[in-house]
């Protein structure tokens, strides 16, 4: 018997459940290490060398270096942990969230000012807008 996961058909959304957490453990713990200034400096000086200290998969390391947050999330990253990379880069939470939507920073900000992304057409995968 497998667990019921009714959230699998929500478009553009990855729920950070136990399975994702298991896959992303080292990726997220790497992110957590960036809360220390010394570690941030070492990471910035040589990203590849710093990442190689962690038992992460090659795909996870490449996704981090590309700052591809959607890919990081697909590989088990959680946004609150990934935010530490953004903080290291001097990015705001809005810049990070926006980077995952395919919109420019300005387009995303304007969408939020106008009331945000509508839920209509965004509840189920394949739903007609």
């Amino acid at each position: 018997m497998s667990l019921e996961k009714p959230y699998k058909d929500i478009p553009g959304t990855t729920i950070f459940d136990a399975d994702m957490s298991r896959q992303g453990y080292h990726l997220n713990q790497f992110c957590m290490s960036l809360m220390k200034a010394d570690n941030r400096a070492r990471f910035k000086a040589d990203e590849r060398a710093y990442l190689d200290e962690w038992p992460m998969t090659e795909d996870q390391k490449l996704a981090v270096m590309a700052r591809d947050l959607n890919r990081c999330i697909a590989l088990g990253g959680n946004i609150y942990f990934l935010a530490k990379i953004g903080a290291t880069d001097g990015k705001s939470f809005q810049q990070m969230a926006g980077s995952m939507t395919g919109m420019s920073e300005e387009e995303y900000r304007n969408m939020m000012v106008k009331g945000g992304r509508s839920v209509e057409g965004n509840r189920y995968t394949g739903e007609k807008k």
Partner: protein
């Protein structure tokens, strides 16, 4: 005996804290957000609570993936302000109330809720942003705070029903404490928002409005709403709203008393990626 005089509900958006810390509250983007809390700041000054029991979630600051407690009560004499990666917020440290917190832990665990007891913990924006919104920028916070952290980072968060029943157990614990303390309980987080993936930026005003209506008038019914409804309708991070049900479960009307008075209600979109919701309910 101690008593719960009121409950406060508010979003805890980090950008709101940053706007306050950087002196941006009068900017057109932020002004409507802070305007919504002007009444609340005055109200809190007049209420003079002795202790605030503050329900919030940690955002990968005090807790990494090494330990993920579903419910964690802070029993320390004080709590430092976390450095979340941008440096610690320039706000006062949080003074706890170890004696009441210990009493609540003992009572609530005996009532079948298995709390994690935390004697050392930094507190992040989940706790400090509500304090800033309700208190402004004082040199010291006006009273001790008991931090109560709920896991909403790794799915599943506790169910709404579980949170509501826990609120009742917390009320019972507070009412059996021997000192005559005026205690407020705050539930924080929400409202609709999604911070990840191509659906980031989701806001659902209609759903949020209905949530506020039901939280006031039908909290028992609201508590049975399944997680999937929160996630689908209010975004993957909208699930934080289950924390509001802990505060609501501690109010008089759902424990045999009179309905509360709605002292303040506020809603605004956006603050960064999120809908801001705020409510003050007073017990009668």
């Amino acid at each position: 005996m101690a008593r719960i005089s009121a409950s406060v509900y508010t979003s805890h958006i980090p950008a709101v804290g940053a706007a306050l810390d950087l002196g941006k509250t009068a900017e057109p983007y932020w002004q409507p957000v802070f305007q919504g809390y002007e009444f609340s700041k005055q109200w809190l000054k007049e209420q003079k609570p002795d202790v605030i029991f503050l329900v919030y979630n940690d955002h990968a600051n005090a807790f990494s993936l090494d330990i993920i407690p579903t419910f964690a009560i802070g029993t320390a004499p004080e709590f430092a302000v976390a450095d979340e990666g941008w440096g610690p917020r320039p706000v006062p440290k949080v003074i706890g109330h170890p004696k009441l917190a210990g009493h609540i832990a003992q009572s609530v665990i005996q009532d079948d809720f298995d709390l994690t007891i935390v004697n050392k913990m930094d507190v992040d924006h989940g706790l400090t942003v509500p304090m800033s919104l309700m208190c402004g920028q004082p040199q010291a916070w006006p009273c001790p705070v008991i931090p109560f952290a709920v896991n909403v980072v790794q799915y599943p968060a506790p169910s709404g029903r579980r949170c509501f029943m826990l609120g009742k157990a917390i009320r019972k614990a507070i009412e059996t404490y021997d000192e005559p303390l005026n205690v407020e309980i705050w539930g924080t987080g929400g409202m609709s928002h999604q911070l990840q993936g191509p659906r980031a930026g989701l806001i659902n005003k209609e759903w949020d409005t209905a949530f506020l209506d039901r939280l006031i008038a039908d909290p028992e019914g609201l508590s049975t709403m399944p997680h999937i409804d929160y996630v689908r309708e209010a975004g993957s991070e909208g699930i934080e709203l289950v924390m509001w049900l802990i505060a609501r479960g501690a109010m008089s009307d759902v424990n045999g008393g009179k309905p509360p008075t709605v002292r303040h209600r506020f809603y605004h979109v956006p603050a960064s990626n999120t809908a801001v919701g705020h409510l003050i309910l007073e017990n009668n």
